[in-house]
Symmetry: C2
Subunit: 333 residues, 2 copies
């Protein structure tokens, strides 16, 4: 009987009984005056509040056959948490706006919520509101709030002479996307596919470099390093040089593409690593952060005057200006 | 040249140049530390904050041939503002998560944002963040914040003996939806179509009955009177009797359906009127609110013990329990 209930389609159960199932899952928090189940959630907030919203749409951002609903729920949270990380904040409260095809099974939606709530809980955040509506494909739009007791780090504070750092490794998610499209299943392919399917928001490092006042500007790498560095440079009115050889590549990336193919590391989207600029005087301090962190931090270049533009220096020492910087949903290549 | 630019498709212009166009439109507000254009918006908030999110999806909630993009933008704001009204709050800040088909023209998106920002501005709210992504159909997910300096009114405070009131007229939007489907264009059809396409959030009345401490419970009528009254009764652990003859019907509704067909007034969705319960001792005060308001307020029934359930009393004095209470996206009729 329980099994039958789980296998029910949403069209058998109905929207309201389904939403009622979620209500017991909102954790108690003194800031939440009212959670799921009324016209609005009601919060008692003070201080600096961060707000971001991001969506994942079936057959644009993911295919259902590539992922479980639980992993999809995790990612829907993480891509938003990454924006909070990029300001140096920590996530607090989430709202979910779901578009769901009629034939969706309650079991799958339960798994989606499980993944979402688990990822949120691991990052200190709670689901406090949302809505659900019929849709021709799965659409997952998340709004995430965050807090930042210290100054937030914008994209606009980089200064000429600053070092450029990036967390983790680059290009894996885009390579994973390619492996998913090609149906490759080697150990290396699995490793990069996991980077695409289960990204991690770099909350601890973002918080650390913001709280210590080290980062002058920060952004998360969601649309490709050069594209996002371009945004940082534009907002800061500076240029930048990236050293191709310094780019952090994973073992799987090297095994699949070789040591000298930086294309996806430079332009591949969805890595959700943090890119930030730091005054060169903080180099020793940054090394200490890197050593105490579970995630690597790599110096990949430096900030230059705006007139010099955005350039990549190859291993031969030659500097070239990239023609194609990253991913834009609406730009046809 | 300007005309050519307006007629460009989003795929010609690209996401980032388009989003840049929006940035100049965020009004200055001391609470907005950072608006559009970074990883997060940054607000300085204090006190009670309301949060709601609601989505409109093409061919589920609207058809493109029924509406202009500008009117669509207004409605995307208003359906969210209605949730703020239902708590007795006022809207403050909005985030927009858009899914847009590749072939969409920049001119149409500009019109959508015009409509959204105009409706928001008229209600005292500002667009402070968002994202845009490719999608197979138009998907408009809005998150709206609000404030409530007084106590918020939940769905859960109705008491046995309270009167039940509703603003405006009921059933017009559902009838308008039917007229749109049938392609009817008489003056009466136009009037109810406008109620579907251009709803108004009843912010002033919601605020008034909350600030005066009159409403014991409140909800907006978005899924049909009986469905939403059912939610209010469930949360308040009470029952209710609705007098069919007291239901406020517009002239257009009476002309199209007659005086004695209450079906759509009882079960039609998308009216975005407010339904609230008030202690009978406040009747004279409510009459005063009604007389000073631009929108009518009608007493339609009363709260009864939970064991009596939710009933409608017809003009013959007979009470019957409705089988079908309203609209659920996922329930097949």
């Amino acid at each position: 009987m329980a099994k039958d209930a789980a296998r029910m389609k949403l069209s058998d159960l109905g929207e309201f009984p389904f939403l009622r199932r979620l209500r017991g899952r909102v954790p108690a928090d003194p800031c939440v005056l009212l959670g799921l189940g009324d016209d609005c959630a009601v919060l008692s907030l003070s201080g600096t509040t961060l707000l971001t919203t991001d969506a994942m749409i079936e057959n644009v951002h993911f295919r259902r056959e590539w992922t479980s609903f639980s992993v999809l729920g995790e990612k829907a949270f993480m891509v938003n948490a990454s924006d909070i990380a990029a300001m140096g904040g920590e996530p607090t409260f989430a709202l979910l706006s779901l578009g769901v095809p009629q034939e969706c099974e309650v079991e799958d939606l339960d798994a989606f919520f499980d993944g979402f709530v688990r990822a949120a809980g691991a990052c200190g955040a709670a689901l406090i509101g949302g809505n659900m509506s019929a849709a021709p494909c799965l659409m997952l739009s998340v709004t995430l709030l965050g807090r930042a007791p210290h100054s937030v780090v914008t994209r606009g504070g980089a200064r000429v002479g600053d070092d450029l750092y990036v967390t983790g490794t680059l290009g894996d998610a885009a390579l994973g996307f390619r492996m998913l499209q090609e149906g490759r299943n080697t150990a290396d392919a699995q490793a990069v596919k996991a980077r695409f399917l289960r990204p991690t928001a770099r909350l601890a490092i973002g918080w650390e470099v913001a709280a210590r006042g080290q980062a002058t500007a920060m952004i998360d790498v969601s649309d490709g390093l050069l594209q996002d560095l371009g945004h940082l440079c534009e907002e800061s009115r500076v240029g930048a040089v990236v050293e191709a050889q310094a780019l952090p590549l994973s073992d799987a990336y090297r095994a699949l593409l070789g040591d000298r193919d930086w294309s996806l590391a430079l332009t591949g989207g969805e890595d959700y690593e943090l890119l930030f600029s730091v005054s060169a005087e903080h180099r020793p301090a940054l090394d200490a952060v890197a050593q105490s962190s579970a995630c690597s931090i790599t110096r990949i270049g430096r900030i230059v005057p705006q007139a010099e533009g955005l350039n990549v220096r190859g291993p031969d020492g030659r500097v070239y200006t990239p023609a194609h910087v990253g991913y834009d949903h609406f730009r046809l290549a």
